[in-house]
């Protein structure tokens, strides 16, 4: 169990600043996600925390103890790699046992620990197999078991699910959530997949170009994005951005309603558009609509009926996000929506 604190952490490769002055707290027992597009520095950050890479400057603390200059093995962490890095010449059992052997834990105790962990990840029957005899999901579980058996203060995971197929990934996501709930240990999890981040994290840190864009609970990140980057990065399809002078206004696709005809009593704002395409996702339907403010995505619970090309869109002003010219979130400026107000005379004419 450990809280990890980062103070003014910087990293540059030559002239490229990969991490620009990062200060963070990763809370004890949290399932913290480092989320960002590829090249944002999230993996580098994780590797620096693990001691596999050297920071350029800054400090790392585990609880109150500084570990900046500690060797990886002296950091009380366990890491799960993207391609698992299971020792290919060892059996599942030996893979899990190896770290304990190095720590000179007596054989009887080792056996007890390994057997326990094997049971936990439901691989008891596969103990004597080599990694290449296992499926992707099983290898993933061996990698987890190898980390769990060390009983570390924190688990580091670098995109551990990205080599699995979609169905297995969904399954492993749930397993990881349950595992974390069971172990109550800090998980630090790197991913570029917002679905993983939203579904698993108790805390999300969004990185872009080596800077923290925002951090908070999934709910805070989704409903209250602090800037355009976060708003656009989270959500599928991404938030619709409409330019209004120097300002941007954003509305999430699920907050736009597709209506047959405007009802001035209910609808305050109107956008006329032309339907470009329809995506049926089974549980929901996504419409792509061309408007004078650009192409907008609209997400509705699934609708199987066919819709006429000219469509009308509306929304409530509470759902609108406002961004200043620097891309940062600003207080609501409802006057920016004046252009979109339903003009009653058009409809009563």
């Amino acid at each position: 169990m450990a809280q990890i604190t980062l103070q003014n952490l910087k990293k540059s490769f030559g002239k490229t600043n990969v991490l620009k002055d990062i200060s963070l707290e990763i809370k004890d027992g949290s399932f913290t996600i480092l989320l960002g597009p590829s090249g944002c520095g999230k993996s580098t950050l994780l590797r620096i925390l693990a001691g596999l890479e050297e920071e350029s400057s800054g400090h790392i603390y585990m609880d109150t103890k500084e570990i900046t200059y500690n060797e990886p093995k002296d950091r009380d962490i366990a890491m799960v790699f993207q391609n698992y890095a299971l020792y290919p010449h060892m059996t599942v059992y030996q893979n899990i046992e190896y770290g304990l052997k190095i720590k000179k834990i007596p054989k009887a105790e080792r056996k007890q620990m390994v057997t326990g962990v094997l049971e936990m990840v439901e691989l008891t029957d596969h103990a004597q197999k080599r990694p290449n005899q296992l499926s992707g999901g099983q290898r993933q579980r061996v990698a987890l078991a190898r980390a769990i058996v060390k009983r570390p203060g924190a688990f580091f995971m670098d995109e551990p699910l990205s080599n699995l197929d979609a169905k297995l990934r969904n399954h492993m996501r749930q397993e990881l959530i349950e595992l974390q709930a069971q172990l109550k240990t800090t998980f630090l999890y790197v991913t570029h997949d917002q679905v993983e981040a939203m579904s698993m994290g108790t805390h999300i840190i969004i990185l872009n170009q080596g800077e923290v864009m925002q951090q908070g609970t999934p709910k805070e990140i989704y409903t209250n994005p602090q800037n355009l980057f976060v708003a656009q990065f989270i959500g599928s399809p991404p938030v619709n951005i409409m330019k209004q002078g120097d300002y941007s206004i954003g509305i999430r696709p699920e907050n736009i309603r597709l209506v047959q005809a405007f009802d001035p009593a209910e609808d305050t704002y109107q956008i006329d558009g032309e339907l470009l395409s329809t995506e049926q996702l089974g549980g929901e339907t996504i419409y792509r609509v061309k408007t004078e403010y650009g192409k907008l995505n609209v997400k509705t619970p699934s609708r199987w009926d066919s819709i006429d090309k000219p469509v009308q869109l509306t929304f409530s002003k509470e759902d609108v996000l406002f961004f200043g010219e620097d891309g940062n979130r600003i207080a609501p400026q409802y006057e920016l929506l004046e252009d979109l107000r339903v003009a009653p005379q058009l409809h009563f004419a």
Partner: protein
Amino acid sequence: MSNYQSNSIDIAALEPIQAKSKRARKWRLLTKPYIYLAPSLILLWIWMYYPTLSTFVLAFQNWGMVPGTAPTPVGLDNFVRLLSSKDFGISIINTLFYTVGLLPFSIVIPLFLAVATHKMEGKMKNVYRAMFFIPLILAPVSVGAIWRWLFHPTNGLVNDLLLQFGLIDSNIAFFSDPVFAKWLILLITGWKMIGFGTILFSAALTGISKDYYEAISLEGANRFQQFRDLTLPLLSPMIFLVLMMSLLFSSQWTFAYIDILTQGGPFGTSTNIYYEMYKYGFSNMDVGLSAAAALLFFVVFGIIAFVLNNITKKYAFYDN
């Protein structure tokens, strides 16, 4: 609307396949591979299989390679002469000496060098690798000439240095000395072959994922444990390959230096089976004896190769 898709094409309207074109395809598939293989098969037959087969036949015949004469069958006579000859006994012992003696140069030192230089970065890595590799690509004859000059009995650099440092009182004729000759041949061959193993081990090392080392260092393994528990098992296929090549080819590798520096002497103390074979055939013009030696060589080394191959299959680990 039906839930099932029905065929919209009328099967009867499809053109039936011509029997002729079906046969043509079969013929094409049968002949094409052999046409492509033919050039190398022909060359292999001329340079490898035919000579090998005729060696088998010549081993039981007597022939002086004189034009116009024909080999005469002599049964097992060649083998009897071979096994009772004193030279042959020495050559077998020396072959063992060279074969075992080369292992440090083909495996142990290269393994150390490859691992030591693996983590190097930048230009120095290539400089180091070139240093080990250059002797390998030098022509054996020029290597022989250089070493002969260095160890020259009267005006060689080595004698000169030893005299200057007062380690010896008078010049040593290294290549005429029964002890030095053998060891020098071994050292020169070893020096030349270090690059061979180094380059192969270095290549094999780059094939091992960096992740394994990160994982194992996170588990607290020190460099020796990393080498023992990770590098060695993962390099095992390459180690067995180099071991096999070293065992099988060491007589061949030493041949050039024996020929250039000592001609097997003094008193046959530096010869090996390969050089003896050459001597029987091309100095003594005793083709039968040479072929008999070659046949024995072929069988013994064939057995070694077979055994090693099975050991490799059993113990080497292939990471696929």
